[in-house]
Amino acid sequence: MTERTTPVLAVEGLHTAYHVDEGRVHAVRGATFDVQPGRTLGIVGESGCGKSAAARSVLQLIEPPGVVEDGRVQFRWTHDEPPVDLLSYGRYDAPLRAVRGGGIGMIFQEPMMALSPVHTIGQQIAEVVQLHARVTRKVAMDRAATLLAKVGMPQPAERVHRYTFELSGGMRQRAMIAMALAAEPRLLIADEPTTALDVTTQAVILDLLRDLQEQEGMGLVLITHDLGVIADAADDVAVMYLGRVVERAPVKTLFRDPKHPYTRALMRSVPRVQLGPPADLDVIPGRVPAGTAQPPGCAFAARCDLKISGLCDVIAPSDVVLDDGQTVQCHAHDPTYQGRFKAADLQPNLAEPTRRVGEAVATSDKVVLDVRGLSVHYPVHANGLLRRRIGTVKAVQDATFTLHEGETFGLVGESGCGKSSLAQALVRLYRPHAGEAWVAGSDGATLNTAVATGQELKRVYANVRMVFQDPYGSLDPRMPVSEVIGEPIELLTPLSAAERDARVDELLEAVGLDPNVRHRYVHSFSGGQRQRIGIARALATEPSVLIADEAVSALDVSVQAQVLNLLKDLQTRRRLGMLFVSHDIGVVASICQRVAVMYAGRLVEIASKDDLFTRPRHPYTSLLLGAVLPPDPDHERPSVTGVEEGVADPADLPKGCAFAARCAFATDLCRAKVPELRLVEGVHVACHHAETVELPAPRLDVTHKVEA
């Protein structure tokens, strides 16, 4: 970018630290970036990289024990005025308060938490209006309604009097945005604004932010961990690692030609929709260092394959400005040191086919899990004295599918669709309400999971194992690793104590951990390591079916790739049938052979991965895939409309197809009769009009680049 306009916000050398018991966590270490009016700066990085802290430091919204230690934050009220340094004010000074809300509006991740539960959204929006303009309460409330209309809130005049808990997730985020806009700020800082939302809602909110930015000519800072969101919404990108902005570039340049080894590695490790057999993801070895770490040289040196000892781990790199407006903190691009690196290493290797394609589909015909008409219902009780039953949540209805030996079967859907309930019923955490689920055990026996009791239930537990989502909550922190993995062996298999110890060692090695860690307690491991222990525990009884319930969702991208590869590897080698439950379509597409889509408790489509991504048959599948954001700035996403209206409530389902209220093709038949899952051209789909509707293909497949 050679011609630069006057930035609305210019941050230079920002340092923020938290003084906690473990020491000084240097969250932001000299971050530098600027935002142009009318443009979107995306700040991307993994957890702990300091992106939120940097954004909050701009308005000095850092609370003790955090301190903004150094830096300059230049904010311009108008194009012609000289900038003011926001860090020159005290935290409570009036000029800074005028900028808060008035000059810079902020949007936070979880609107349910970020909005007050005891004030109506109208009160909260009107408050901002009145803080920054001399108007009456009445005018401010009217303005709040207008703002809600502007952010696309349905029935704004009525919703202005609603509380947050009466709104859906998407509506809450709209209210939050309306609040941030209330004083017509010049800049909007959105901190993970869509992370808590479903993918279809995310698409709507991103569209809204873009429209608003165009209308108002505001600058926008969009903080996210999701490269897909960056590719979709950002104009310029700042990549952060351990408190530093390691690379800055316009979005297309960055994705076409990433310079920093971290950016490159990050992009390679993102799971993408990829046709054909599942392939391994590239991984970044190791993990983000602790915030207390103070590496003397480059923060990424320990994980970098270009590292030159004696240089990278000694001298901290500074900003190198390249010709095309790209700025990178890496010695390999610094003319002073460049000679010491091999020229070939400096080329972007995104296009190189580094991916190891997995062994050809090893799926056999042997069915290891046969689910027929499985339903899971939960009673809803009143809060009163007698707790009488007042309704039923039909979490899963009539689920039917099969899982083959050596197959990975994906189950995708948005929050509340019942995918986790289905998974938990299959491992018998809950007893299904109706239906059957036959498991072919590794010992050759066949069991009906749905009704098993006593000794038979123990065999179900041994044969159908689960990997949980939360690596912190799912392992008892008060147990040593050997007991965590050994407990199911002890209770569910006839192995002796010596055999058990041998198996624990073998499993630890299989999941890539040193068997010497067996005596350590769980709380001393990182998230990724814990998830490996969780996988070892799941495999401990040599099950025939593995159920992974959002098993990588809580992990950072670089760690996620490691765990996904491990799962894929173990599954292939041990010929497990794996049910992989996830809300992340990219992850599912990178690991599964077949995929089922779930909506409001029902499976609406089951197809091979290639069929699903090239030709979705169910309108919901099409909507869902259309909202996916691949890490590709050239991807054109169809705009999604009307997703918040009529989202089905599993406690109060309509008579006919649950998706009918959101479906463009719905007819009276759809509203009257629930469609059965039936075979249409080799694909199972639950839609009355599967043969006739023409649905656009999402064109998510970006692997053609790899195949080239």
Binding site: G48, S52, G291, P477, P488, Y521
Partner: protein
């Protein structure tokens, strides 16, 4: 990412692989040690427990040993140095007391008699007693070397009994009644709270209503009512036990709520679900996975419940409907202070009250620190 996540990561990464990794209990202890007031509470509680355990030995006199010559005798100062026949002598002693008549008010008054010296020694022979009701002895930690010499370090009461000895011995009932009452409430609370949390549904509902009901009755009038119902002629040991029972029947509700809340919270934790899938029976899940992770909460809640029991016993006995003389508890001793005129003459009658305040305070510090350490708010 959220800050919490970051902090969790920091914490996880802060332990290098080679370091020794403490069990969960040690983690609680480490956090506890940082809490200065709580450490003070722990030390004070320890001292109280020891003193109470050996109170018969530490107390210089028998609690019932009276001397009408020293009615309401004021506290005597302990001196260390005196000039004896052969120069300066080191060693503790107290001066004698003599009675003067204040001619203005016409009242009897004690004055220090400098001329009389009563030396005080360690491990002296004194009133005989049976340590813990078993070992007959007459050794006391300290006391006057001469038999029948007055040594009222904290004054005497209306019968000339040593307030210090009586207060020390009063701790036996006052402190154990708290401990015993809490243990009884613990059994009831854990049993009913655990049932409520584990089974849920109708059982939970019934127990919750019962707790709400018991909590809606003002406790002290109910206590008074129940305590007044105790027959007046039963032996002190039985009164002691029944009073404990009365305190416990009402005191368990708070504990039951804590237990139930923790149970419900833990039941939805993934690691408890995982235990079920690993083949753990409900009993094993509770024993191996649930109880260890809330044991520290329970201990904290129990510690915080003891002071309430102590206060309740003191109040009941003070009103004359709890324990009665000859039983000695701090509440019984404070009955002496009921009359404003006797307190005006002998303010040292408040000494048992000071003991109550110190023990309640140190238990509160201790319990509060335990609670903070057990609940780090990840």
């Amino acid at each position: 990412m959220s800050l919490a996540e970051g902090a969790a990561q920091t914490q996880a990464a802060a332990h290098p692989i080679t370091s020794r990794h403490p069990k969960g209990g040690n983690l609680v202890w480490r956090r506890f040690r940082r809490h200065r007031l709580a450490m003070l509470g722990l030390i004070l509680t320890g001292i109280l427990a020891l003193v109470t355990l050996f109170s018969q030995f530490i107390a210089p006199f028998e609690p019932e040993g009276y001397n009408s010559n020293y009615t309401y005798a004021p506290p005597q100062r302990l001196h260390w140095i005196r000039s004896g026949d052969n120069g300066i002598v080191f060693g503790p002693y107290v001066h004698g007391l003599k009675v003067e008549i204040d001619y203005d008010s016409g009242r009897r008054r004690f004055a220090v008699d400098d001329t009389v010296v009563h030396p005080v020694g360690l491990f002296v022979q004194g009133d005989p007693y049976k340590l813990w009701g078993i070992i007959p002895t007459s050794r006391h930690l300290f006391g006057p070397l001469e038999k029948d010499a007055p040594m009222y370090l904290l004054g005497a009461d209306r019968l000339g009994r040593d307030v210090l000895s009586r207060t020390l011995l009063g701790g036996r009932i006052s402190l154990t009644i708290g401990l015993l009452g809490v243990m009884l409430s613990f059994v009831l609370g854990v049993l009913l709270g655990g049932m409520s949390g584990y089974f849920g549904g109708a059982i939970d509902n019934i127990i919750q209503r019962l707790i709400e009901f018991l909590q809606s009755i003002p406790s002290i009038p109910l206590w008074i009512g129940l305590a007044a119902a105790l027959p007046k002629d039963i032996p002190p040991a039985q009164v002691y036990f029944l009073i404990t029972l009365i305190l416990a029947t009402i005191g368990w509700t708070g504990l039951a709520r804590v237990v139930r809340g923790r149970f419900l919270q833990l039941k939805s934790e993934d690691f408890v679900k995982a235990a079920k899938l690993d083949g753990c029976s409900p009993l094993r899940t509770m024993r191996k996975h649930m109880v260890p992770s809330f044991a520290s909460h329970i201990i904290a809640a129990l510690t915080l419940a003891i002071p309430n029991m102590i206060l309740a016993e003191t109040a009941l006995s003070f009103l004359g409907i709890g324990l009665r003389p000859p039983a000695i508890s701090w509440g019984v001793l404070l009955q002496e202070a009921q009359n404003i005129r006797s307190v005006a003459t002998a303010p040292w009658l408040f000494v048992p009250g000071v003991a109550v305040v110190i023990s309640v305070l140190s238990l509160n510090f201790l319990g509060d620190g335990l609670r903070d350490a057990a609940d780090p708010r990840r």
